[in-house]
């Protein structure tokens, strides 16, 4: 699948049997709806703010258009509710959520104890730790 930001082909990362698509160039993450459901199901947590954002009412995205890597439809933006709400891109046909590099960090920081967000934190936290741990280049 193509990264909606830089249009280069993403690689697939499988962690604890859940897959995310990851752009090596811009470090963005595509969280597929099916994988999100699988994650929530496996962790036994009820649906929370992230699933809510996927189904929620979107606003038109300002700036350059970004297309859903699954269906090619223009994505909109939604809020992931929490102590510090995070704005993420979303396919209006609910194929999944796109998290830019910074958004992933903010989403995980504002986990706020919701079991669903904690599960996402456990999964994706590793992606973030490695970024923090790595020496800043350039």
């Amino acid at each position: 699948m193509l990264c909606p930001v830089c249009l280069s082909e993403m690689i697939v990362l499988e962690m604890d049997r859940i897959e995310v698509d990851h752009c090596l160039r811009c470090k963005g993450v595509w969280l597929d709806r099916g994988e999100l459901e699988l994650l929530v199901e496996m962790s036994g947590a009820p649906s929370g703010p992230i699933r809510g954002a996927l189904e929620g009412r979107g606003r038109p995205l300002i700036g350059p258009k970004r297309r859903c890597p699954v269906c090619g439809v223009r994505m909109d933006e939604v809020d992931v509710e929490g102590p510090a709400p995070v704005v993420v891109d979303r396919c209006p046909r609910r194929h999944g959520l796109w998290l830019d590099e910074g958004e992933l960090g903010r989403l995980i920081e504002s986990a706020g104890g919701a079991p669903e967000t904690e599960a996402v934190k456990r999964l994706l936290g590793r992606l973030l730790q490695s970024e923090r741990g790595r020496p800043e280049s350039g």
Binding site: I11, L13, E14, K27, R33
Partner: protein
């Protein structure tokens, strides 16, 4: 069962003739209305027949492949998914099908399955979502249902009748388009007068009614075939609960998922993804209500015979005469077997197994980092090593 299939075949032939009459009537009335002359009727009918003939030829030459390609199905081998192949082999033997169907995999979270072809050359297609959600008994039930369709020759009928519906819809559609360009409006200045106005009215009525009628005929016939395929599945597997439980899971998932399905293929799936959402119901549905199919399977009790299915069908739906008398008499004792005892891998593991097959088929290289992260690298990334995004180590993806 055989007389049932024969009677089905007779009904199918009648249905196809009715549809052909409808198609020709539509073509000729449109031709007459457009030209205002009787020769127009013949030309119109000829045009309608030509459209149908072309579509049928295309369907016969490559219909199955078109269906599979439209659904995005990929052919897989035994070494890709041996467990799935074992089930298909088992059910081929249980059903007495002369040739094992080819097996196709579709990438979709929506659990579903369909079959195409004739007993001598056929294929079953399942989605990755189906493999993820179902255990072995349930998957066996679904495969048996699909093989039941192939064995009962339903797959071929659905293609033939579907083409006829498509031709009628296409011609009606052409009419509306030419209306928009004003071709039918003034009769091009020829003083046809009242006669043409009446022809126009007839054509209009046919244009509105024939697509509806064609679909009605098609759907009425395919619903009974669903019950028969369920009855076949119960008998082939000797475990009606497998299919019942699978249908329950599929129906639930289909309702919550957004259908990414083409309207032509939708009626072929084991649970119609478009109808399940409540858009189509009653006369217009290709499938009986899934809840009723489940209730019938669960009412079968200790026997998996055709007679027992007929009995359960009568109890649940209040109707009878689903299965022919000879099949009811000779089906004999078919005691229900025990549930398969096995430790089932979790849904996520089953989904990874199915998806990895598709990744490999698409030329992805799969590598495991020592930190536990697995990387699936598309062929467009030629680099022999890639830094692991979760730990930074360089991982070779040879």
């Amino acid at each position: 069962m055989w007389e049932q299939i024969r009677s089905n075949r007779r009904k199918s032939a009648i249905l196809l003739v009715l549809m052909a009459v409808l198609l020709l009537a539509l073509g000729s009335s449109l031709g007459a209305a457009a030209t205002g002359a009787p020769e127009g009727a013949i030309a119109g009918a000829a045009l309608a027949a030509a459209v149908w003939l072309i579509l049928t030829l295309v369907a016969y030459a490559g219909g199955d492949n078109i269906m599979l390609a439209t659904a995005g199905a990929r052919r897989i081998e035994k070494r890709d998914l041996p467990k799935l192949f074992n089930i298909v082999e088992e059910m081929t033997i249980a059903s007495g099908l002369p040739v094992m169907p080819e097996v196709y995999l579709i990438e979709s979270n929506v659990p579903n399955a369909f079959a195409v072809g004739s007993p001598k050359r056929s294929a079953v297609a399942v989605t990755t979502g189906l493999l993820a959600r179902l255990n072995r008994d349930e998957l066996q039930g679904v495969i048996a249902h699909e093989i039941g369709h192939i064995r009962n020759q339903d797959t071929r009928f659905i293609v033939l009748a579907g083409v006829m519906v498509a031709a009628i819809v296409l011609i009606a559609d052409l009419f509306w388009r030419s209306m928009a360009y004003g071709r039918f409006r003034g009769g091009r200045g020829r003083g046809g007068g009242q006669a043409q106005a009446i022809l126009m009215l007839v054509a209009l009525v046919l244009v509105i009614l024939s697509p509806i009628l064609a679909r009605l005929l098609y759907f009425a016939c395919s619903r009974k075939r669903e019950y028969l395929a369920d009855a076949s599945a119960a008998r082939f597997t000797r475990y009606p609960e497998g299919l019942a439980s699978a249908l329950e899971k599929i129906d639930k998932a289909v309702l919550s998922e957004r259908p990414d399905v083409n309207r032509v293929i939708a009626p072929m799936y084991i649970v119609n993804p478009l109808a399940a959402r409540g858009g189509i119901s009653g006369l217009f549905s290709t499938h009986p209500p899934t809840a009723e199919r489940i209730r019938i399977l669960r009412a079968m009790g200790k026997s998996a015979s055709f007679a027992q299915y007929e009995e359960a069908y009568r109890t649940v739906s209040g109707k009878s005469g689903l299965i022919g008398a000879s099949a009811l008499a000779d089906s004999g004792e078919t005691p229900v077997r025990e549930a398969a005892a096995e430790t089932e891998p979790v849904a996520a593991a089953r989904k990874r197994e199915a998806m990895d097959v598709l990744y490999r088929k698409s030329g992805y290289r799969i590598a495991q980092c020592t930190c536990g992260t697995r990387m699936k690298v598309p062929p467009t990334h030629p680099d022999p090593a890639i830094p692991c995004p979760t730990c930074g180590r360089s991982v070779s993806v040879g």
